[in-house]
Amino acid sequence: MPVLLDPQRLWGMMLRHWYLLRSSWPRILELAYWPTFQLLLWGFITTFFLTHSSWVAQAAGVLISAVLLWDVLFRSNLGLSLMFLEEMWARNLGQLFISPLRPLEMVGALMVMSFLRTIISVTPAALLALPFFDVWIFDLGLSLVAFFVNLMVMGWAVGILVSALVLRLGLGAESLAWLGIFLVAPISGIYYPIDVLPDWLEPVAWSLPSSYVFEGMRAVLFDNVFRWDLFAGAVGLNVLYLIFCTGVFLYLFGVARKRGLLLQQGE
């Protein structure tokens, strides 16, 4: 019986990206820089709105929590996509796939390392929110875990899809790593409720797990209620998207083997 996910091969791939990450302090600092920058920007906007907006005043942490959770989604997606791009930039895909490494093992290892990168990215900003703005996101309790996991998984799904497309289209399409996730940002209801969107756009928004998460976050912060219906919607869609995107990746990996793309990729 063939082993589909071998722990030692997963560990080997994780080591590869851990070594890469630790080889550069600027790289690690940059991971934390953008979320912290975003936090400060939105934190001060929140401080202003607290005295000028009755909506924000009802839940002081709503924009700050939104920015931190958005970064979970963004970093999860970007982390996975960039690590895959690293293999293409390093012309390492050929070496990897003449080893016994399976495509699913690579995806699994990139997921784990993307989780680690996301923790490194958002933890400093989450901690700084307390002294700067008196917001402690961990007050969300277990609902924070539910939001975090759903956004991580959605980020992975988008990252896997982007990796598959870049494998097929080549490095000329590498900007998809950034474009893909920003495409969903305006319709995910990160900073405003979904019903702000035009009627025709709302069904599109409700097809995204992120919309359920951010609506769920507002339900906790404004009404102190954990909406299980929204949680179930996010989980259901995430399962579908993860299966679909992994399927696309495996299919396009097969196409790459037919077209000889694994040997040709590189700068």
């Binding site: 590869r16 080889s23 550069s24 003449i98 083997r257 037919k258 000889g260 040997l263």
Partner: protein
């Protein structure tokens, strides 16, 4: 599970009617060959002859448009993951990450190949291949010779039964190239491994190989031991044989 029903005993690679087309271009045009266990076989041919494409298909990295390949008793097109732990490959055209040190790269690949004591194996190879002086240097800062030795170490990390090498001494100075050839010869003698190498270097092939497949325009133009080929064409050495075949228009395909 390995299926040896299509592979005769004593054969490491059995390729039949192997073909690869890219749209209207035929890179490899229906070749058949066997590689004996424990032999060193050369794929010899000019640029674009189909050597690298053939090696990529043997590795399962490229899916052929036709034909069958059995490697170490396994149908590589149906189940390459059974054979891959027993194979390895090195080429100057397929890189390893430059930002990782030589040690880190080797440790990563030791884990990918399922080596049981990865750190011990890396240290052993570092000693054997004289990598110790630059083991902790980023690969990107190593010299061409050091990179080649690191790539060779990666190719030997799992002590492969089948080693595929694409131009193993390209861009090396004569001293380093000679050292690499000596090491490969020694490895084959010690382990009984089968080696397939693609090369343009006739002296290298004459020194290392007991069988040669001469490729031209995606087909096998001729085959045999180096001395047999020289005798058949009435030439002094393999280079002259190669030039005659490369410049002839009608021989290609005659020996398929």
């Amino acid at each position: 599970m390995a299926d040896s029903s299509h592979q005769p005993d004593g054969i490491a690679i059995a390729a039949r009617d192997l073909e690869k087309r890219f749209e209207n271009v035929t890179a490899v045009g229906g070749i058949s060959f066997d590689v004996r266990l424990g032999s060193v076989t050369a794929l010899l041919g000019g640029n674009g002859a189909g050597k690298t494409t053939t090696i990529a298909m043997l590795l399962g990295l490229l899916v052929p448009t036709g034909g069958t390949i059995y490697v170490l008793g396994t149908d590589i097109l149906a189940d390459r993951h059974t054979a891959l732990p027993r194979m390895n490959f090195s080429s100057p055209y397929v890189d390893m990450p430059h930002r990782l040190s030589v040690y880190e790269n080797l440790l990563v690949y030791a884990n990918l190949y399922g080596v049981s004591e990865p750190r011990d194996r890396v240290r052993e190879l570092a000693r054997d291949l004289e990598l110790e002086a630059f083991l902790n240097r980023p690969l990107g800062k190593a010299s061409a010779g050091q990179k080649t030795r690191a790539a060779l170490a990666k190719a030997l990390i799992n002590q492969p039964d089948l080693l595929l090498l694409d131009e193993p001494t390209a861009s090396l100075d004569p001293d380093t190239a000679d050292w690499v050839r000596g090491y490969l010869d020694d490895y084959r003698r010690r382990t009984g491994a089968t080696i397939v190498l693609a090369s343009h270097n006739m002296a290298e092939i004459e020194r290392l190989c007991d069988h040669v497949l001469i490729m031209k325009e995606g087909r096998i133009a001729d085959r045999g031991a180096p001395e047999e080929l020289s005798a058949r064409y009435g030439r002094q050495n393999l280079e002259e044989v190669f030039l005659e075949i490369a410049r002839s228009r009608n021989r290609a395909g005659a020996a398929r």
